[in-house]
Assembly symmetry: C2
Homo-oligomer: 308 residues x 2
């Protein structure tokens, strides 16, 4: 078995061409840059990636493209949780066969008010159908978007049934109390808890968390990875405060367009600003504000490739 | 151009085999039964159909199967609105090329709090890409599930841009005030308004509505279609009250499993009770309650094929 992936993972934004088809070259280049900045892995196909705005075929093609371009599968944690069981199984099988470090899995998110039993059955069917000892599922708790929470009793039930496959969780609730409840509930086990924002990175690490998976890991990966490495150091609180300042700027705008606008600006490559509907790119005024606030913090994306 | 489809449409439930793959034979047989009961059309692949629990390939295969089994495309209004623009375009193109009466289109429903501009762009991209004068989009307003409302200003903007393609709406809000606002806003136009429940059938018809698209149209199609035909008659209020009584029984249980349990019971074919996760079939106690309440109303499914 390969080692567990831990540390900082970037939920990689998906660049689009003018016709809104996925842009394989920019995607691979951004992934290479992120790894060079010191992140542990790439949580491609998450909320920040507009993954649910991509077809299954588009996701598989982008995934395979990264492998062809030399990104190691062991650094990838693709999102594979869809509304349709059949889609989740197809994407998960593909990722596991290729040797991905794990898969980040949303619950089916169309129906609302579904029972714990129904969500359990969804994950159980996927584990049974994929049926591979290499499968490591990281549950994706983002109730403000999916509207379907991943509760502690659900996790306990899944781990009792599939101890090898249910490897961890990304907690994107942003709620420190929920993060602490997860860390307490699974302390001393091999269930890995990743906060979904670097705002809770240090807090998480100090109580048993294993890193974070964060949208701003697309633009500020080096400093986030540095704190994750050096969190026992005397400088940790100051580092956390610096991360927080950058994060607060980004999250005062719609997050996905803001992350893309940041990359577009600092790489001088406007193609990066494109999003698929129903998202809308930042307007010129928002972008100016965003950049001036980031500049004021001394923000930089060192070594980012500049548009030709 | 083919005539507009109006009247009662059944959002056909999708039967599953033991391994949860779609059951093409039972699907076609149920569609034939519904048409024989007098409904105008079949709104396959809606919320009641567990459409978002199906892959794009599964939907296309079921759709093509119906055509092969002799269901006229002109009686079909498949759901084609997905989270991914690419999926919505593929499904819509397929339906339009085959000659479907129209498509029922959810907005992309993963992201929450999206702008009207973003939802507009989603539909606009689909119209532009499908680029077919036969395209008739029926917008699907079901905010309690999709969390993304279809507002009157959005409809007006879409109709101004694409007057031919934006043909109507299914209003599944269940809110009589919203239904009246839609009927008033588009009175005297060719924008067709279908309430999403027969509870509002007569109310709708009396104020310019064109029928309804309703989950219980799977089990009670004859009486619903009869009221839609005879709504100007002296007996209409009594007919509506009878429809309401049946509807109220069904909707006191989780709707999709209740509709499937009803078909399973009255056709003596337990295979019909299967649902895909995250839905869960009714338990034995719920099913007994449901059937005894329906029996008390003299409910029947005349001519339904019984399991061999």
């Amino acid at each position: 078995m390969q080692e567990r992936i831990r540390g900082v993972l970037s939920p990689v934004v998906t660049p689009f061409q003018r016709d809104l088809s996925p842009d394989r070259e920019r995607f691979a280049a951004h992934c290479q840059w992120l790894l060079a900045q010191g992140v542990s892995g790439l949580a491609i196909f998450g909320t920040t990636s507009e993954a649910n705005s991509l077809s299954v075929a588009e996701r598989i093609s982008l995934f395979d493209g990264l492998l062809e371009d030399g990104i190691p599968a062991a650094r990838l944690m693709p999102g594979t949780g869809c509304c349709a069981l059949s889609d989740s199984v197809e994407l998960t099988r593909h990722a596991v066969s290729a040797g991905a470090a794990g898969v980040l899995m949303l619950p089916p998110f169309y129906y609302k008010g579904v029972s714990e039993e129904g969500v359990f059955r969804n994950y159980a069917e996927i584990v049974e159908r994929v049926h591979d000892p290499r499968l490591r599922i990281y549950l994706y708790h983002i109730p403000q978007v999916s509207q379907v929470p991943i509760t502690i009793p659900l996790i306990q039930r899944l781990r009792a049934a599939y101890p090898g496959a249910i490897a961890g969780i990304k907690d994107s609730s942003g709620d420190p109390a929920n993060l602490r409840a997860l860390l307490d509930a699974f302390a001393g086990t091999d269930f890995d808890v990743f906060p979904g924002s670097e705002l809770l990175l240090l807090e998480g690490l100090r109580h048993g968390g294993v890193g974070c998976i964060t949208a701003t890991g697309n633009v500020n990966p080096g400093p986030i990875a540095a704190l994750c490495r050096d969190w026992r150091g005397a400088d940790a609180d100051r580092q956390q405060a610096n991360l927080d300042a950058t994060r607060r700027v980004l999250q005062s705008f719609p997050m996905v367009p803001a992350v893309k606008a940041t990359i577009a600006h600092y790489s001088d490559d406007d193609a990066w600003s494109r999003v698929r509907p129903p998202l809308v790119e930042l307007d010129a005024g928002q972008r100016t504000q965003l950049v001036s606030q980031l500049d004021a913090l001394g923000f930089a994306m060192p070594g980012i490739a500049m548009a030709a």
